[in-house]
């Protein structure tokens, strides 16, 4: 229990330092762009493939149930709402927690072990700003972009799934999707992806930056980053859903 509270306190201080350093010059724009490119580019294909499979499988699995109720025509609408509201953001965030989170956690931990972070510090640079702030901001900005890609590709998968059992034109599928999805579905789902990105970047950097125990600590940091970020993605999702429902009902 003591370890838990120590961890929470340490993460809180780390978050506080992030916001403090975020607004203080000098700004590391080049490193931010590089990290945004790395996060977006390196995760794109994985997110695209899983997104496509997700849309396809969800459609194929949902079709028999809807047909039992004679509601097959609702399939595009139901799948679109599921993907955009929940499945797209959460699955993409979990994939990024694995890919991006472990990558950042291991990279920073290995930099710590090999004294690269110390080397930055003694050269008069601010390693926190250069390594942590850039990566957290890049993750916060890029995860929403990946979610948009993932949602679009998932809908492509769903279109294919619908056409495996039936025959629906793209324009009909598209018009059903647009009709079913409204602002209240898209906006809260999009906003929560920024929080997913932030927490994935923050936790990964925290675990990597505070790694110890030598090379053993590198694996441990990567592992802990993935586990903690994934758990926090679910917790944020739960809070976001409750908050959205409160706002809609209000």
């Amino acid at each position: 229990m003591k370890a838990f509270f120590t961890e929470v306190t340490s993460l809180t201080f780390f978050t506080g330092r992030f916001f403090k350093e975020l607004f203080q010059p000098p700004y590391e724009f080049n490193e931010l762009v590089k990290q945004a490119y790395l996060i977006g580019n390196k995760s794109f294909y994985l997110v695209a493939i899983t997104g496509f499979i997700m849309g396809l499988v969800l459609t194929i699995q949902s079709a028999p149930t809807l047909s039992q109720f004679g509601a097959e025509s609702w399939l595009p609408a139901m799948v679109a709402v599921s993907i955009i509201r929940e499945i797209g953001p959460v699955i993409t965030a979990l994939i990024c927690a694995g890919k991006v989170g472990s990558g950042i956690g291991a990279e920073l931990a290995s930099m710590k072990v090999t004294e690269q972070i110390d080397a930055m510090e003694v050269s008069g640079a601010n390693p926190f700003k250069y390594l942590v702030v850039t990566r957290v901001v890049a993750a916060t900005l890029m995860i929403p972009v990946l979610v948009i890609f993932s949602d679009a590709i998932s809908l492509g998968g769903a279109f294919m799934g619908v056409n495996i059992t039936g025959d629906v034109s793209f324009s009909l599928f598209f018009s059903q999707v647009v009709e079913a999805v409204d602002f209240a579905d898209v906006f809260p789902a999009f906003i929560k992806t920024f929080f997913f990105g932030f927490i994935i970047g923050l936790v990964a950097c925290y675990k990597g930056y505070h790694s110890n125990k030598g090379t053993e600590g590198v694996g441990a940091a990567a592992n802990a980053a993935v586990v903690m970020a994934s758990l926090l993605v679910f917790i944020i999702d739960m809070i976001a859903v409750q908050f959205t429902n409160l706002l809609i009902n209000y």
Binding site: A119, S123, A125
Partner: protein, 245 residues
């Protein structure tokens, strides 16, 4: 070599540092003058690396003061500390090159916020690369370098801001005897070329022989002997003698 008795650049007084119950440094005091090359010799685990890290505030001390170029480093704020650190070069044991950056980017890293024009940065990069004899490695990644090359590039990076003080943490560890001798000679060349004050932490007696004006032997957190290489070599103290066998 003769030590140059000049202005004091490093002054440590009654330094103490513990990790839990493990007292690593116990009452360390040391004064180093401008232009000196001081070698701190000690066995593994004797506290050498902790000592050198306390000098640049990579580690905080429990007790004592460290004054570098007239500034008490533990009373400086972050900005002042960073300005002071730019006058200190530090060669880490494993060179600590940034894995994701090329040699050129590694060397440019300390100059990022300097506001120097591109041409000047390029000239500085080539100058330090020439100093360590690795001009052709400029576009290589650290993973493509041998151990000796990494040390040379690490040395070049620490020299790029033309520091007044150079700190070397085990500069020859992990190298074959020939490369280790080359690195020791390179340290000496750099010291002469840039007139830096150097502090070398090592357990390599050949490195100490080539580079040292003055040597100190650290054991169990205290200096147990001090003197020139030849003086210590004649010592009858068992521990001191063991380094020269």
């Amino acid at each position: 070599m003769e030590a140059t008795q000049n202005a004091t650049v490093v002054k440590m007084a009654h330094l103490q540092k513990s990790f839990g119950d493990n007292e690593v440094l116990k009452d360390i005091s040391l004064t180093i003058h401008k232009g000196e090359t001081v070698v701190v010799l000690g066995k593994s685990g004797s506290g050498k690396s902790v000592l050198i890290k306390c000098m640049v505030r990579l580690l905080d001390v429990d007790e004592g003061k460290v004054s570098i170029l007239g500034s008490d480093i533990f009373s400086l704020n972050r900005k002042e500390l960073n300005l002071l650190r730019m006058k200190i070069g530090f060669l880490f044991q494993g060179a600590a090159l940034y894995d994701s950056l090329t040699v050129r980017e590694n060397l440019e890293f300390p100059l990022r916020q300097s506001g120097k024009p591109r041409e000047e940065i390029d000239a500085l990069v080539m100058e330090v690369l020439q100093s360590v004899g690795l001009e052709d490695a400029v576009d290589l990644m650290p993973s493509e370098l041998s151990g000796g090359m990494r040390k040379r590039i690490g040395l070049a990076r620490s020299m790029i801001l033309k520091p007044e003080i150079m700190l070397y943490d085990e500069p020859t560890t992990g190298l074959d005897p020939i490369t280790a001798k080359e690195i020791s000679n390179l340290i000496l060349e750099v010291q002469k070329k840039y007139n830096t004050t150097s502090i070398i932490i090592t357990h390599d007696i050949q490195c100490a022989r080539i580079t040292a004006n003055r040597m100190l032997i650290l054991n169990n957190g205290v200096f147990v002997a001090e003197g020139a290489f030849d003086e210590l070599k004649k010592s009858e103290d068992k521990l001191v003698h063991s380094f020269f066998e």
